[in-house]
């Protein structure tokens, strides 16, 4: 349990990168990029976790209860939303690529020129 979450992070990243490298469809590649990004969210939250601690919200628990790290949670939550917007930008690039070159296969797109 000491390093199991971090091993899972490495697995998700490796699997996502494998999908990107061996993909034959641009939209499939973008979904694999989403998977690779999600590994970083798990890593950030795993780093800040304290065993036996509560969430850092002191609305209904007394002050000074041991709580997990709030800074990594703040980073992750803005990351999730902004990652979705950047994914939308990539999807629009895929749409225009299909209009210009007629294909969505990344391995064929490499060979087309002009």
């Amino acid at each position: 349990m000491q390093i199991f979450p971090f091993v899972v992070v490495a697995w998700i990243l490796a699997v996502g990168l494998y999908g990107i490298v061996t993909s034959r469809h641009l939209v499939h590649q973008i979904v694999c990029l989403i998977v690779a990004q999600s590994s970083t969210y798990v890593l950030l939250l795993g780093v800040g976790y304290k065993t036996g601690a509560v969430a850092p919200y002191f609305f209904d628990v007394p002050d000074h209860t041991p709580a997990v790290d709030p800074v990594v949670q703040a980073l992750t939550l803005t990351d999730v939303v902004v990652g979705a917007a950047v994914t939308a930008l990539l999807l629009s690039l895929a749409v225009q690529a299909q209009k210009r070159f007629g294909t969505l296969d990344p391995q064929e797109l490499v060979q087309l020129r002009g």
């Binding site: 034959r24 499939h28 209904d60 628990v61 939550l77």
Partner: protein, 98 residues
């Protein structure tokens, strides 16, 4: 000196640490399996459905890591917004593929 809160309900932390560990390990295994399934599915349309499920799994994992804010974002983004964007893109490119 902090002034007294408006305390709604006092919720002491009652889950034993061992149970929390088991929950987190189970969710991590499910997330790893979900990621593998998502990558190995080659048809983008099926991937969209799997992405929705993966988003919900991630959200529950974040909840088990004591991060409710991140759960809210991940749930909405992963289960609603991203599948909507992907489906709109697929509708556009499939019409041209025909």
């Amino acid at each position: 000196m902090a002034s007294p809160h408006i305390m709604a309900v006092v919720t002491p932390y009652t889950v034993p640490a061992g149970l929390m560990d088991v929950l987190q390990v189970a969710l991590l295994v499910l997330v790893a399996a979900g990621a593998t399934a998502l990558v190995l599915t080659r048809d983008p349309l099926r991937q969209v459905v799997l992405l929705s499920v993966y988003g919900v799994l991630l959200a529950v994992l974040f909840m088990a890591f004591q991060a409710p804010d991140v759960t809210l974002s991940a749930l909405t983004v992963g289960a609603v917004i991203l599948p909507a964007l992907l489906l709109l893109t697929l509708a556009k490119v499939r019409r041209r593929e025909k």
